[in-house]
């Protein structure tokens, strides 16, 4: 659908859209994040949801404590090896469609604590991450910008065709293996490198 007629029509109060457009428009403006704070980035995430930076403008201020009612997991803080199984299990217990934002240098690659013996060097070793937000901690505006990037990503997802997202493809795995505690380190298969979250977006 080319946008020009759409814009002219919407000036006269007539909205033209597709089923997909409506479906994605509804989803992107009510992304419910999981109440899941790990470390310093969690304080910046709380500050982003408070009055001054006001995440409510993006419909994302409803922090759901239970993974059953959340669509977005903001991994805000250092994922340690002792916490990694819980993070992956929580992500598995969230209903589809679900997204992951890796907030802060620690969630992306271990950050300043990269060579700690108990620190997982990035959550994308076990989970498909949709948006990476660099910073230590990223400012609340950076988190909001990451949220906008995610909203654009949701808006551009297709319902049918080969390029549809992971949760709409029967072939794509619905569950990610939870790592186990070994005697020296975490054991268990990691996310294969080629499996980017969504082939097309």
């Amino acid at each position: 659908m080319d946008p020009e007629p759409q814009i002219d029509l919407s000036k006269q109060g007539v909205v033209l859209t597709t089923v997909e457009g409506l479906y994605n428009w509804g989803r992107k403006n009510s992304v419910w994040p999981l109440q899941f704070g790990l470390a310093c980035c969690a304080i910046e995430m709380i500050a982003a949801s408070m009055a001054r930076f006001d995440m409510a403008r993006f419909g994302a201020e409803v922090f759901r404590p239970s993974p059953r009612q959340a669509d977005l997991m903001i991994v805000s803080g250092t994922v340690t090896k002792k916490m990694a199984p819980q993070v992956v299990r929580l992500f598995n217990q969230m209903p589809e469609p679900k997204y992951v934002i890796a907030m802060g240098a620690c969630a992306i690659c271990g950050g300043p604590f990269r060579d700690g013996y108990n620190v997982l060097q990035g959550i994308d070793l076990y989970l498909p991450v949709d948006v990476y937000i660099p910073g230590c901690p990223p400012r609340p505006e950076a988190l909001l910008e990451g949220l906008m990037n995610l909203q654009q990503k949701i808006a551009s997802q297709r319902l049918t065709g080969p390029a549809r997202p992971r949760h709409l493809r029967q072939s794509a795995p619905g569950e990610f293996t939870v790592p186990q505690f070994g005697s020296h380190d975490l054991v268990g298969p990691r996310l294969p490198k080629d499996q980017t979250p969504d082939a097309n977006s």
Binding site: K82, C109, N118, L125, F181, S183, H184, D185
Partner: protein, 205 residues
């Protein structure tokens, strides 16, 4: 007269009393082997090395003695002293052609390897401190047991568990000696100097 100088003055008052404290302890525990370990930094916090047998009784004495009243164990630290070759200049007295002269000789000496737990004690009732006491294990290998001071000060409970978890010192008499930070079936003691972390298969950036 800024802060650190004033702080040194205050601890200096304790400095003289460290000898007095040592004498006070040996007065009531005659066969305890105590040793004052100097501290090179200007912080002026020398420490008192206790022997295993009397450690807990001396600790209880330090807490309950009316003149000392060290009722608050602020900080318990584990330190790993692996074996080191130390090049030392030893002053050797030699008789050279009839005259006794002091000669300096360089020789390397293997320091003894041990694990250590350091207690910083303060007194909330009398307001003085820190009194630093140290406990050392026999070696770093099989005999790494130390008497636990948790029955005397409950603030050592979690800190001694952390030393057991990260250094491997077995605290005898600790009510609940389990790992506190690492997961339960973790076997290494990661804060030891010779701990080699497992390579996480990650390409170094």
């Amino acid at each position: 007269m800024t802060s650190s100088a004033r702080a040194c003055l205050k601890t200096r008052l304790l400095m003289q009393t460290l000898e007095q404290i040592k004498d006070r302890i040996t007065a009531s525990f005659p066969d305890a082997r105590l040793e004052i370990i100097a501290n090179g930094s200007p912080a002026n916090q020398p420490s008192l090395l206790l022997d295993h047998a009397h450690a807990r009784q001396i600790a209880r004495f330090l807490r309950d003695d009316p003149a000392l009243r060290f009722d608050y164990a602020s900080n318990v630290t584990g330190v790993d002293w692996p074996e080191k070759i130390v090049k030392e200049k030893i002053k050797v007295k030699k008789i050279i052609d009839g005259v006794e002269k002091e000669m300096e000789e360089v020789s390397d000496r293997k320091t003894s390897a041990f694990l250590e737990s350091v207690y910083h004690l303060y007194s909330m009732t009398l307001g003085h401190g820190p009194l630093v006491i140290r406990l050392r294990t026999v070696n770093r290998g099989d005999d790494v047991a130390l008497p636990s001071l948790t029955p005397v000060w409950r603030s050592c409970e979690f800190q001694e568990r952390e030393i057991f978890d990260l250094f491997g010192i077995q605290f005898q008499g600790h009510p609940d000696l389990r790992r506190i930070l690492m997961w339960d079936n973790f076997v290494d003691h990661p804060m030891r100097k010779d701990y080699v972390p497992t390579d996480s298969g990650e390409v170094a950036l």
